[in-house]
Symmetry: C2
Subunit: 190 residues, 2 copies
């Protein structure tokens, strides 16, 4: 699971704390995958074989935990996206990013609704994700591929909507791309 340095603040974790942190993350991923993003945190602690107090000390809120869980995947997503700059035009690149983000947001049942909140949690990954999204949007707008009155929040709104749809109907990739294209039509300048 996660291993990189995702401490934004000063002091590094003590060895045992770091170990527990990982166990909590793996447990949380398992539990959330099984029971959705609203699953009981006590269950997570139990599965991680860690006291509930430890969990709360490390992740004071559920969003913090979700944020940490998304960290890696968002980092990868952002990196991936930057890679595409060479091969894709701004519009297509943005489209690819959106599709990936939707798929990410459907990783746990119930994650979609929280996407906005989670992206605002202060992990490197979440930051990288939003930064990349903003960069792509701006780039696409400069290339006149996207109307200039579209904000990043608007984009998030679109992505949330699609994620919600996908969450209910089962995350078939073809459906995802279909919906993204459907709504891109509205975002694109005509």
């Amino acid at each position: 699971m996660t291993e990189a340095i995702q401490q934004i603040d000063e002091t590094p974790l003590r060895a045992d704390a770091a170990r527990n942190r990982e166990r909590i993350l793996t447990a949380a991923d398992a539990v959330f995958s099984e029971r959705g993003a609203d699953a009981s945190l006590e269950d997570v602690a139990k599965r991680a074989k860690v006291g509930i107090g430890t969990l709360y000390r490390r992740f004071p809120t559920r969003e913090a935990l979700l944020g940490a869980l998304c960290d890696e995947r968002l980092l990868a997503l952002a990196a991936n996206s930057r890679t595409r700059d060479d091969v894709m035009d701004p519009g297509t690149s943005l489209r690819a990013f959106m599709i990936e983000l939707v798929i990410h947001a459907s990783h746990y049942q119930g994650l979609a609704v929280q996407l906005g909140t989670v992206l605002k949690s202060h992990t490197t990954g979440c930051h990288a994700g939003t930064a990349e999204g903003q960069r792509l949007l701006q780039r696409a707008q400069k290339a006149k591929a996207v109307a200039k009155d579209v904000s990043f929040d608007d984009l998030l709104c679109v992505i949330t909507a699609i994620s919600l749809a996908v969450e209910q109907g089962g995350a078939v990739k073809s459906r995802v791309t279909h919906l993204v294209d459907l709504f891109l039509g509205g975002i694109r300048t005509r």
Copy 2:
């Protein structure tokens, strides 16, 4: 508050039961307005001066209660919408409906997430609302104002997402229309 006949099933309520039903509804509206749609149902019962058991007997789930609360307003919304048939073209009419529904879904904090579920509760208002939505969509599609591969569920998701966005950033009407137009641009055939 509510007074109309919204008994879908057989037997009419006993006098005391009907009285209590109303008190629960007024109390619920007050409590949900103050504390959001996830407020404690015990609080609602307390405010209605009714035992918690009574509340559950009448409204077995929170969705049922929310559904009943939305009943009136949805009825009005649907009626309003039908009125517009004469003055508006199908596309504009659908747009107006969506805007109104978003505003409705932002009536209580936390209502947006549940919109889909609530609309499926079996009250006359909820039924009228979805029926009207479907009618408008079909009408707009016949008029080639909307792509024919858009489903009503797609529409609902969009409305939910916009409501979520609006819920966080404060329900400024201009933002609502902006977002609706954004999505419509994509939904509309060009």
